[in-house]
Amino acid sequence: MTPKKTLNYAYYPGCSLHASAGEYDLSTRELFKKLNIGLTEVPDWFCCGATPAHNVDELLSLSLCAKNLELAEQVEGDLAVACAACFSRLKTTQHVLSESDVKRRQVEKAIDAPVPLTGNVKHLLDILARDLGLEQLEQAVTKPLAGLKVACYYGCLLTRPTDVPNLDCVEAPTIMEDILKAAGAETVAWSHRMECCGANFTLSRPGVVIQLSHAILDSAKEAGADCIMVACPLCHGNLDIRQKEIEGVYNTEYAMPVFYITQLVGLATGLGADKLGLDALIVNPMPLLKEKQLL
């Protein structure tokens, strides 16, 4: 299948995707290859500063992203971002610097270059749902995820705050559900799709994370979901890696696989488990996928 128009993007994976979320990176590259969407990694990119920098030093946090934005200018196309935290930081930087001349001048002095404020920073969701389009995506689906009940989990940063990411409706987005419906899956209506998972407290205050992520897992299970889908390596870490621990604390059992969006959409387009890094998931998804005859 070839898209009607050629889509090419600069790609900013971010640190997580080169480390703990390697499967997100892998599945993203494979899915985009399958969909004929070009991704060119931004040369020499570095950390966006998420999540601690902006709490510590605003100039530093803005400058880190500004420099990355400047680097991305070398590559043709809009900037594609997979990690919700990187996406949020890059978008926030553009927003803050276009609102404040003073800060823009400070940052430009710090990075010794003009900041590109008009370039589009796009999350993968945006690229799949709008640039490629749901119709095109539906045509690319060869193995619809029939019968799979998915709880789409947005977390905090994809749509918030108002007027910054402009990805979808701030408090009631549907973009993930739209994509998954195109992939043939069933999405459940549930209460905690926008709640915080604890994100960057994962190492410093695990108690908070366990409490918050428990509420999310609980509510997904109550809504009858088979699995959760995320688009953020931090959320993934909390819901997937810590799931066993949460089960222990609350004396319960979820066995709720947590997929990246690219993994589920990849499955639907016929990519194999090896190309999607399914083996890297902590909660084993294989029993579920076999049960639903998706592998």
Partner: protein, 665 residues
Amino acid sequence: MSRIGVFICHCGENISRTVDVERVAAQVGTLPGVAFSTDYKYMCSDPGQGLLKKAIQEQRLSHVVVAACSPRMHEKTFRKAVESAGLNPFLCEMANIREHCSWVHEDREEATQKAIEIVGMMVERVKKNRVLPTITVPVTKRSLVIGGGIAGIQAALDIADCGHEVVLVEREPSIGGHMAQLSETFPTLDCSQCIMTPKMVDVANHPKIKLYTYAEIEHVEGYIGNFQVTVRKKARSVDEDKCTGCGVCMTKCPQKKIPNTFDRNLGMRPAIYVPFPQAVPNTPVIDRENCTKFKTGKCGVCQKVCGPGAVDYEQEDQLIVEPVGAIVVATGFDLYSIEEKPKGSPIKGYGEFGHGKIPDVIDGMTFERLASASGPTGGKILRPSDGREPKQIVFIQCVGSRAREKGISYCSKICCMYTAKHTMLYHHKVHDGQAYVFFMDARTPGKSYDEFWRRSIEEEEAVYIRGMVSRLYQKGDKIVVMGSDIAVGVQVEIEADMVVLATAVQPQKGADTLAQKLGISYDKYHFYSEAHAKLRPVECATAGIYLAGACQGPKDIPDTVSQASAAAAKVMTLFAKDKLEREPIVAKVREAGCVGCFYCRKVCPYGAVEEKEIRDRQGNLIKVVAYVNPGVCGGCGTCQATCPSKSVELDGYTDEQIVAMIESL
């Protein structure tokens, strides 16, 4: 040749101390056209004015310049004096040699020189002054009131009681507005319908009030004292003269499953209906969109059962032209809805409150209908979803109000008070229930208001939590309310049976279109703008149009009624005279030069410019030119500065006058 008289005032010593008045008089006396020049101690005094009048008659003066204080002080005085001496008042000008000269300079030589120039300038100006007749406009002593809520009703009754005819136009099939929907009213908890319905009946029975319900304003023409208003009376499908209001048609109508909007869709009504039992007029209307007869052509039951034969399916909209002299706009308010708003709308909905999809999350007006004895539940507080009594109820204030990120930054003013009232009504009806209120601030200025609010906490056991709610979600048959208590600094979660949102007060839908028809201005939220926020709070900048009630900004009932009576008083003041007089400083079009580009109309703040067709004797159109309606023109002159060919001219400030002044310097 003009014979100008110049009178230099000493103003005691105020002018003469720094200005050599004799020298000014002597110097100015030599100017061409000046026939008489003198100085006097107090020009504004009786002898001073006498001197002026005498000189005009004896010297046969054609124009007068009084060099004295600011024209803002005494221009009227001297123009009157000139008029009593037989000259047109607009042939008199003042030269300001006090505020603009003697008081602000110390050097006698400089001040005298400046005074000579100022007087000289006014002499050149006055030469170009023309006789301007005072403009009088007849007043039609009838008024139009738009909107039949409490504001419109009050204004209409006040004006009509004064003996002037009133045309009251209401969009809905009955008057009454939002107040008719309320259960009890703060701060006295008296029943809203008990105090409202007698007034509605007064309107219906008043010999001076002509009532159009189910009608809208189609078109407005004219200006203060002389409006022509076209009213569209929508087809009711029931002949108002024949109908006796027996109600048989409503009981027999087979289509009974139409959500009752008056009850906020909680109950059902037939296709032929009156909005509520106490409706005025008590004449039903057929809802053509939902009527089987109109949809399929079959049925016709109501016509068959109607004894007097009032049901008329063929009825059509009627356009009626009403001449009126003044207009009171009282279109009221509407409530913000948390539903998802169309893309690009500056107002945003509340996704975090479920975009209105959770059935037991209702707004304040719906709660009013639940609490009302004549409401769909007979006054019992019951959940819309399953009809159970809610034992835990959460009220959330400032939903939409004071929320810039949702597109509204103002305070809706009434919500603190009505939420306090709701907690009381709830406590009175559900004795074992608990009410919680999330609030930002409690704003209770008003007579007996704070006492009332405190009562809800101290006597009626409502729990007030200072903080906002971040999210609502359905969990089983409960609604989980996640919020924060900023006073204590903790997060709060309440499992509620029902949630009531105090949604923001917004202007009525279509407020902007009506404003455009009326030619009045409105703010970015579409609330109508008063002429002056402090000193002219009930008048529009457009003369002859007045504001009453929440169409101008959020208001409670006492404020609304006060403003309505104030608007009525303004109308009565206008009607106290048979003719309106106004200063003849208005723009006039020189038709020969006008090419009809209508730049004047584009910049006119008053909408005073109209089109006029110039035809030859055979009636062939030669051209279309601008015409300035002198009754509407405010006299700013923006048109003249904009007109490329200067074919429109502001009397009293003509190019000739101004150029003469510049050239004198």
